[in-house]
Amino acid sequence: MFSINALELGLIFSIMTMGVFVSLRILNIPDLSVDGSIVLGLAVSSYFTIHGMPILGIFLSFFAGTLAGAVTGLLITKMKIQPILAGILTMTALYTVNFRIMGRPNLDLPVETKRLGNDYYTIFTPFEELLGKDWHVVIVVSLIVLIIAVLLYLFMKTQIGISLRATGDNEHMVRATSINADGMKVLGLALANGLVSLSGGIWAHQQQTADISNGLGMLVASLAAIIIGEVIFKKTNVISGILAAISGIIIYRYIYSIALTFGLRGEDLKLITAVIVVGIIGIKMIRFKDIFAKLGSGNGGGKNA
């Protein structure tokens, strides 16, 4: 039942899930623009790869994502639009942007991308000979994920990182300590969507194509992954959150690939994923109700993270 492809995708999407972790768990803002941001990464990355600049494309996919996230952040903070609606607006706008970048609904990276020495090559091709055809993608992506996870962890310990976390934890307190909470929200959403888009950028190289519909269900998959991961890593600190995001999406992709081998189709899994998310949230809610009933009024915060 082992599938390298599932592992590859799990690892690539773990960058996206870390981004969703930043918006949902650190900032406490449900950002629905994920489905658009990941396609933005795919579009930017494939566009630049086709024009012979694959590495630049990867970096730019990150920056394009930060811009999209900043837009959502500004809609929320400056225009006082509800986060959910702001995310939907950005996602809708991104559909057009993505389409314009790609020029059509589906953009294949040319076959020559596989050959080293050609102008067209993915970030994986240089490693194919060195690391072997089967495993080179897994190894390269693992390294990237490791670096991002460590950087994200360290960032959350910096002054800005602490301010960011406090903004999601208690906005009142943050304002009272002279930190610009609105600025922190914009910054956090930029970072979150940057990661989501970067994930898409790398994904384009892995599947050697980009499709306008690739983003469908990605937000819900990330939510499912975070919820699954939190069953394993229960603590609410940053390390546990990052590890939950990574392990959750890898487990999710495995379940996904197993389901596919049983004859279910990709289309069926969207419904199943949604049901799983609702189910787990339902179980959690019942548990939290019990806990609160026992404690009378809890002395912790109101967040059931």
Partner: protein, 262 residues
């Protein structure tokens, strides 16, 4: 030090819920003044503090702090030199972050956060010293998430957060009201100690008339968004709780009957 001129604020203007928060409110404080603020429910005490720190925007009026006109300054800007505590102990701290992270956040007050580590080794010593002053044993629990502390411990910690970088002005809104009597006394004494040590100019709202007279050097009474009494000097020293209660209840009765008429 603090100069408030003709503050007026009306809530829900032009609706049936229209309500005057403050009306031509003026107040002037000297450096190091510790003013206790009393008044019945709905008198406008919290509104006063909220307008001073910039949570509410006034309709008209002017505020000058330490020679600087801050009338149009944003809330988080003012927070650089205004510390505050609320009645709710949950409001002043971030529950899912550790004690040291909460303190680190406050310790950076006034400077823009950067990419340096939030909690530095050198800060830990200072945090421990400051926490030891609270005498609650928190100095050994730097890595504990704040959400695990009791309400009293959290409020004491919030006091430290508000004063770890000495503010020019400290605003306390019934900050001991949600605590049990013993803890309330303890937090009140801590507050007094810290205010005296750094001679911080302070406004403290309280419904405890005893505290209003025992602490600080001035007492003001609010009613319906107006300043109706300023007690200081000899007059304040000779004021008894009973007499102040009487004054208090006359104004409270006024506002009550006014509301009935309305």
């Amino acid at each position: 030090m603090l100069e408030i001129k003709d503050f007026s604020i009306t809530f829900n203007k032009g609706t049936v819920d229209e309500r005057k928060g403050l009306e031509n409110f003026s107040l002037s404080l000297d450096d190091g003044d510790f003013v206790t603020v009393i008044g019945s429910n709905g008198a406008g005490k919290s509104t006063l503090l909220n307008t001073i720190c910039g949570s509410y925007k006034v309709d008209s009026g002017k505020i000058v702090l330490d020679g600087m006109d801050i009338t149009n300054q944003k809330e988080h800007r003012r927070a650089r030199f205004i510390g505050r505590l609320f009645q709710d102990p949950l409001r002043g701290t971030a529950p899912h972050m550790t004690i040291e992270e909460n303190l680190a956040l406050a310790y950076g007050r006034g400077s823009r956060p950067g990419l340096a580590f939030g909690v530095k080794k050198s800060d830990e010593k200072i945090f421990k010293e400051k926490l030891a002053e609270l005498d609650l044993g928190l100095e050994d629990r730097l890595k504990t998430p704040v959400g695990l502390l009791s309400g009293g411990q959290r409020q004491a910690l919030t006091l430290l957060i508000a004063t770890i970088v000495t503010p020019k002005l400290l605003l306390l809104d019934e900050h001991t009201a949600a605590l049990d009597p013993k803890t309330a006394d303890k937090v009140m004494e801590l507050t007094d100690k810290i205010i005296k040590k750094h001679s911080i100019t302070t406004l403290m709202i309280t419904h405890n008339i005893r505290n209003a007279l025992d602490y600080g050097n001035k007492t003001i009474l609010l009613s319906q968004g107006r300043l109706v009494l300023v007690l200081e000097g000899e007059e304040r020293k000779s004021m008894t709780v009973e007499n102040l209660m009487k004054l208090y209840s006359t104004t409270a009765a006024d506002s009550f009957s006014d509301k009935m008429i309305l």
